[in-house]
Amino acid sequence: MEFSIDLLGQSTVQILPILFLLLVGLALMMLDAFKVHGKILPILTGLGLIFSAVLALAYGSPSSQVAFFGMLETGGIAPLVHVFLCASGLFTLFFLPDYLKRYHRPIEDVYALLVFAVIGMVLMANAADLIMTFIGLETMSMCLYIFAAMYKTEERSNESGFKYFLLGSFASAFLLLGISLIYGLSGMHQLPQAKVSMGSLLNLDVLANTLPNVLEGSNVNEIIFYTAIGLILIGFLFKVAAFPFHSWTPDVYEGTPTPLAGFMATGGKMAAFIALGVIMQKLNFFYIENGVEFETYPKIIQVLAIASLLTMIYGNIVAARQTNIKRMLAYSSIAHSGYVLLGFCAGGDGFEASLFYLFIYTLMNIGAFGMVGMAERQYEDTHMDHWKGLGKKAPYFAAAMSVFLFSLTGIPPLAGFMAKYQVFITAIRADLILLATVGILTSVIGAYYYIRLIVYMFFGEEQETAPDLNTRFTWMPATGIALLVALILFFGVLPSTILSPIDKVVESGLGIVMASLGM
């Protein structure tokens, strides 16, 4: 794509939703500096996120459309992804202010950081160029590191911040090394006619064209390619907490303020997963010939399948042994990563099923983490025993929590069931019988530890020391919980309301690219 000033102006208009978010973030910083405190900041943040999502829907086109010379996708799946990510930030906001206030440490910068984190997620998930993926990932990660280390007088928070920062930087370095190897491969193809005015070599569409040529007949290049993809996968699997790279998850979530841990587990994961999925789609990891689906790089899919298998088994089994609810939710979030990966391995409709799963998972998990945060007696005290008998003391609280837990388990009328059903059915259609079977069996283990908490709440002996949860039901968390429960019920009964838009944008957004390559 040639450079021109007109295109620059057009691109600026295309990324208006992101620019608006940036403006909101900067405004929040300024308001904080002038001591505008209280409920105003979170409300402004929420309104900003909502308006940005509306802008994205209004400006996005159903067909693929790139801004800034192939850096950022603004059409296709981009608007929907933008809405999902803004939603994960928005739902976190319902629980955040009360939580921070309860520990007398309202760190108001959090709202600006939350907005910046959402910007990073959007950039990463909608990137059409690997350099943009990396910048978005770093923006997001930087904000999440700060969330983890925020309560610096707490030992747990120190531990979690330090662990996440070190391991996260390490994973980013792997990702970057992989990207630079890909850059080398792509450049090798272009070198003879190297000219300065060439544009990016790391654009995903460019890579989709150059990589097959570079790989053809060259054994060395192929090995370099697989090394590079392996390194990139390490980076992504770390960010989504999949099996061999999961070990940071429970410690980090435990030390992070609980609603923000929910945000980390949903928004952060969703962005990393979508970025990985888009790379897989654009580089044609799966292609269809005569109606039969093939894998372009079968080895990579095998690696993903093994990661998915082990993640599902490990996450669920270890989660069943936890007595701290936050750690249990952390391990269960590892298990959920396995289910999403399962969708990725299936190819074809798998990406859509995974996207649907991620959205529903966001709703359930932000709710669950938010309510765990409400029930904490003091900072980071989330032992399961304190939840015994909550059903009598705070029936509404217990009922809402049960909805989230049942949905995470995958009990039919709720959205969690539809999400799991979609993933498993696409896996079975793609002949991944073993993986689907393991997924269903491990879901049964999941039922054990989710429903155990419900049994504790309704049939456990009442605790003297249980906090008075009724006073914590201020309008903000109450609205959030009501909204989330309603959405979970709604999408459980009518999943097509969100599934068909996902199908449509994935088909028209990513499908056109595949067709243009003659695949």
Partner: protein, 168 residues
Amino acid sequence: MEATLQTILFWVFAILGIAGGIGLLFNRNPVYAALSLILNFFSIAGLYLSLQAQFLSIIQVLVYAGAIMVLFLFVIMLLNLEHESGVTTFHTRRALAFVLGLAFVGEMLYVFRGLSAYKLEGSFEYGEVEPIGYQLMTYYLLPFEMISVILLAALIGAIIVARSHKYI
């Protein structure tokens, strides 16, 4: 291999760079280790220069050997670090890490063994300031500008972590 000036310089810088890296790892005194790292940075800057990447070379000296290393030395001297205590005990975990690291190095060597077949010829205008500036301000404008968001977030984070307790 003919001994042009470039190959001679390559060997000089490569050996110096590796020596600096080894010095960093094996010096018990943190100040000496930091100084070895500076040697390593400078020789890498020299390698960049011989690859006609002038801009990268200057930035390497200014940012890494200059700013970052001064910060390192400040921290080391302010914290008044003692000599690092001996780490000679044997752990299975460390042994495993060593074996895995070695395997990774072997894998990399295996992957890149055939790369000497590639020859880079012709002149490369990329390394000069002008083409880099042109690329940054045109094709890479969005990523370039978005780095400012990372820096802003890092700044806020530093303030949150560093400010005194009474503001929390």
